[in-house]
Symmetry: C2
Subunit: 361 residues, 2 copies
């Protein structure tokens, strides 16, 4: 499905939905080889825009309709600060990073979320995100060996949900049902997300994210616009500009709490602190690039995260986000190698022409 052209609220009315077409003709961005030949292919689109919505670079259809999923978390965390809730409860960078996180349910993540909830007078029982087992083999093994009862605090979105709950408590709202579109918590989130992405989210298709909160269908370039405005907040009202800076600073300062051990976001931010990148389910990545004043959004048509990560790494490389040393450090993401289960080389994941061209610019 492709949507109408993005509109920038500063200059025109917001995006209000439009024609959906059933098939995109996005190019192959990522190839997966086995031996000397290509075995699998991932199509997709990416777009890089500045804070006015001007497209700086793209491949595929920038108007492609996507659900931003967890890639929008830094935008969804804005009300946590703007309501004054973060200050009232003295949230640190760790908690703000968790509010933007897809963490792995590692012990440090779970403990931090539990301590945060205790500080606002709640427990994991208030979280409505559902339960996920830990997402590293070490954390999973520990939980099994210690027969730890899994709770919603283990869910990759538990920090985002703790943020929603914190705003509810600060605003004196009953937290129950905070994941529903009509609850004040989601109304705040929807308003901030709509303003930042230049979308009237009351007019676009609405669905449920994996953690139960609303996710809104929007053109890919509108997600990029939201990230560009986080990165270059010069045209935003002062409280929002401050909130944006505080969230991006927290992500840079505590990348482990954004994506856990070995995660793409963790490793990219550890290697290159000027990059704020965030993934979402079904092959979505978004990035805010404060030094360049740009935002990026990317979607792999088939939803594969292996392709989304490699493509995101190459778009960032093409934008000059990495020094030679950082590029070397990020080689496992830029040039992933596929091994046999006994450790011999079997293939690779690699960018194809539209991405390589992007890198070469």
């Amino acid at each position: 499905m492709a949507l109408q052209l993005v509109t920038i609220p500063d200059k025109a009315s917001p995006f209000r939905g439009g024609d959906f077409t059933d098939v995109t003709a996005n190019p192959v961005l990522i190839e997966v080889t086995r031996g000397a030949d290509v075995e699998s292919r991932h199509r997709g689109a990416f777009v890089v825009v500045d804070a006015s919505g001007k497209i700086v670079r793209s491949a595929g259809d920038p108007r492609m309709a996507i659900y931003p999923r967890s890639a929008a978390k830094p935008l969804q965390a804005l009300p946590l600060i703007e309501t004054g809730a973060a200050d009232r409860f003295g949230l640190t960078d760790t908690e703000l990073a968790l509010a933007c996180a897809s963490h792995k349910g590692e012990p440090a993540h779970v403990e931090a979320v539990k301590a945060w909830l205790a500080r606002i007078g709640l427990t994991h029982a208030a979280l409505e995100c559902g339960i996920q087992p830990p997402r590293t083999s070490q954390a999973l093994e520990k939980a099994i060996l210690e027969r730890t009862p899994l709770t919603a605090a283990y869910h990759n979105c538990s920090g985002k949900h703790a943020g929603f709950l914190t705003a509810c408590v600060a605003c004196g709202e009953a937290p129950s049902g905070y994941i529903d579109p009509d609850h004040p918590a989601q109304k705040r989130v929807t308003q901030a997300l709509g303003e930042m992405t230049g979308c009237d989210l009351s007019a676009v298709p609405l669905a449920r994210d994996g953690c139960g909160i609303p996710t809104y269908c929007m053109p890919l370039q509108n997600l990029a616009l939201g990230m560009a405005r986080l990165a270059d907040a010069s045209a935003l009202p002062r409280p929002r500009a401050q909130a944006a800076k505080r969230l991006l600073d927290a992500m840079a300062s505590e990348p482990f709490f954004v994506n856990g051990t070995g995660g793409f976001t963790t490793e990219v931010i550890l290697a290159a602190r000027s990059v704020r990148v965030k993934g979402g389910a079904e092959g979505v990545y978004a990035a805010a690039l404060p030094e360049l004043g740009l935002g990026m959004a990317l979607k792999i048509d088939d939803g594969a995260m292996r392709a989304a990560e490699c493509a995101a790494a190459h778009v960032l490389l093409g934008l000059g986000c990495f020094t030679a040393d950082e590029e070397q450090r990020l080689k496992p993401f830029l040039n992933p190698v596929i091994k046999t289960d006994a450790g011999r080389d079997a293939g690779a994941i690699r960018p194809t022409a539209p991405l390589a061209a992007s890198s070469a610019v």
Copy 2:
């Protein structure tokens, strides 16, 4: 990449490789919805042929170049019987099913492989497939709680490898290096695979499968041809026809040992014993349909197994392989539902026009 037309050895020379093109234009076969809209798309091709290679049904490019991966296991197991090794060691249906298996490393799988290896005077140390952890949460939890040292017997291909080793022992060959293309074990397998699929495998690209053995690049319809000849062995030499029947019977009689608890192959065979279906990595499925005398092969361009399973189920449905009751039982594979982590409906995986049309024929 697309390859030249298949050639059927009975009527012409075998396929010997050909032109590779970089992009396929396969249709979207599977859509993944979120709410009312499509969020992700999987392109691919399928083809159904009879034992003469005549195409009965297809979508996308039947000449698409694929690596059959584990979908070829029933073909790779033929020498285990044809060498006399299966009879010499009195292999039962359980072991023959394991020789065709991608199992889940559940306790019963591991125990059966260990007992089999002991019978031929070997242990898991002879397996060269590498190690994988168990692939059901229950089996993984048990292995962690009991601190069981994982061995190559847990690998999903350990039964196939035990079959290779059994043939080596029966033929008086040193088993070491049995995964290499030049070892007599793989020469036998390559010959049988080439004859059944109508390919000169010495002339096509060769790569390493995940378990280390050779995997050969071939047109999709040649994999389908190999399966059709398993299903309708009337034109095969008598020993091969007998071996084909014995393997298909073993798969029907012991589906748990082919794919483990909840596996697509296990559930489809349990529901419809006339179907022999087998998956392979990177979105491949193949099926031998003895009652129809047909073979099927399917590849999802991007390698996604969620799409390959749903597509395979709909191709089989379209061929009339399921009664109404069986169709009902296989609903979780025909119409998978996507839930939030708290259990609410969020989306679905569904076939698109080319598959639905196939089902409607």
